[in-house]
Symmetry: C2
Subunit: 352 residues, 2 copies
Amino acid sequence: MSNWRDNLRSIEPYVPGEQPDFSDMVKLNTNENPYPPSPKVRQVLKEFNSDTLKLYPDPSSHLLADAIAKHYGIGTNQVFTGVGSDDVLAIAFMTFFNSEKPILFPDITYSFYDVWAKLFDIPYKRPELDADFNIKAEDYYCDNGGIVIANPNAPTGISQSEEFLKDIIEHNRDVVVIIDEAYIDFCGNSALNLIQCYDNVLIVQTYSKSRSLAGMRIGYAMGNAELIKAMDDVRFSFNSYPMTRLSVEIGKAAIEDTDYYKETIKKIIETREWTKKELKRLGFTFGNSDTNFIFATHSCVNASYIFGKLKEKHIFVRYFNSPRIDNYLRISIGTQEEMKYFIDELEKILSK
Amino acid sequence: MSNWRDNLRSIEPYVPGEQPDFSDMVKLNTNENPYPPSPKVRQVLKEFNSDTLKLYPDPSSHLLADAIAKHYGIGTNQVFTGVGSDDVLAIAFMTFFNSEKPILFPDITYSFYDVWAKLFDIPYKRPELDADFNIKAEDYYCDNGGIVIANPNAPTGISQSEEFLKDIIEHNRDVVVIIDEAYIDFCGNSALNLIQCYDNVLIVQTYSKSRSLAGMRIGYAMGNAELIKAMDDVRFSFNSYPMTRLSVEIGKAAIEDTDYYKETIKKIIETREWTKKELKRLGFTFGNSDTNFIFATHSCVNASYIFGKLKEKHIFVRYFNSPRIDNYLRISIGTQEEMKYFIDELEKILSK
């Protein structure tokens, strides 16, 4: 047997959320947007000159970074773009977390953080959320190599105030603090303005949720120009042309269509609030979700049982078999029609 | 001054080839294909349902891997896809080169290999090519942590025979041997069949050159299923949805259009052979280019001088200010018309 296996990077493979493909399915398991992307995206595809694909893209995706910068009223040199926010976060971990001290993120949070820490040999500690799944600020006052906070947090859906984040940042001016705002557009209280006061804060956002473009893989980070330059240096040393020419054009068109985006967000929030009431009626409890999903547990019926029963009906929600959350379901918000169907079927399952 | 800078990954940033954008330019500097992608690509764009972009792509890009597998007559589980061959190679370096021993690649070769080695802290050694820019097989008989050979080599354009590669592989059964075939379609002697006999050989190819799709960022690796699985594990731990939905559809359509591909390759090879004759006539010497570029030096006029003069005319070729090759120009093969114009202007520069 050859010894080349000795040199393999040993890693427990990350298992991404299921991507079932049934024509009759109700897909509420990966927090996608139930509405199509902006009509401007369709127009880009229609008008795009495919002959230009023979040429490499602009390495810095300047057109896209510029459109994002304009949207948020910041400088283009304060924007980093990548192949979804996972790519952006992976590059940020590589760039900023090179200390011997452990980085900190909650015990219950986005399941990719510890995967990246393991992949890049970054030591880490995971302070426990309190019983109501809130972050305890004082857990982040200790000496550390960096901090990652998803706000709102996933899969809990709970968000912290800007004051709360500021307090953590004030205690951690010597490390980079990443605030992962994948779901921020569903509550609207972005901490973006903190990047103007704190040179060590990086805000990460994505097109996959609020912009209905999970399939185009566009994420971005915003921070002071020095942070962005450091990420660019690592990026260009990994892959100097990360974004397709189409991603750049589509990303630009989507972020410019603010009206469509607002309309979509409004519909999702309305459906979320309706779903909350219905779930309460059916005996579920949950924290105050500020996202496009609800993380709920039932007072007497087991989450994994409900998960399985819904699956039989081709209704897909997310179930994590992990400590402290193994009796919860994470339910993405679909269209009003989908959620009605979901609640009806859920009611049938619970009444059996 | 905050100390977060102490934890930054210190890296000398890689500088990608210039991407000038003049309407009158002749772009012969990044080895792109001068012909547009297959008409089937245009059709995909025209027919693509943009509403599906709201959903994440299939993590394994199965449709694309399957089309590539069919094209080469191998199993889908023998194919890994990524965001250009740079992404594929970066993942391969991370996956396979985790030995204390140095990996080996030539002193003159693709300029990204040492960048990845530095980025991932992989020790490396760079045996010298001989005076004619050929690889010396015996340099690769020593104990090492892995081998990377670009075949044909870049920027030299020179290729080695399958027998030659086999000899190196036979001497290195205990490490992974990567054969980077970015330019193989311009000579046609792929070492792909070696993956059936050697479980430690990985062949890497790209859509950026022969398929005219540099702007879509599609690369792939082929090897035994165990190598591919190991790369997938690392990939999914970095970014579980690397390929856009459009990349998958476009990549599938492009690889299925063999007629168009053959026609394009034929035209480029004809123009390359014509350009060789003309360059000889003008006093250039070069090795036997098997790629879509020619790496040439002039008997009496300095390469950097010619480079600058061509640039003034908006004719872009590549010049590397590196030891042993700083009197060479790497000239990508454009259309016959572009190369005629290039030769005419070159003749004027040389006659001054």
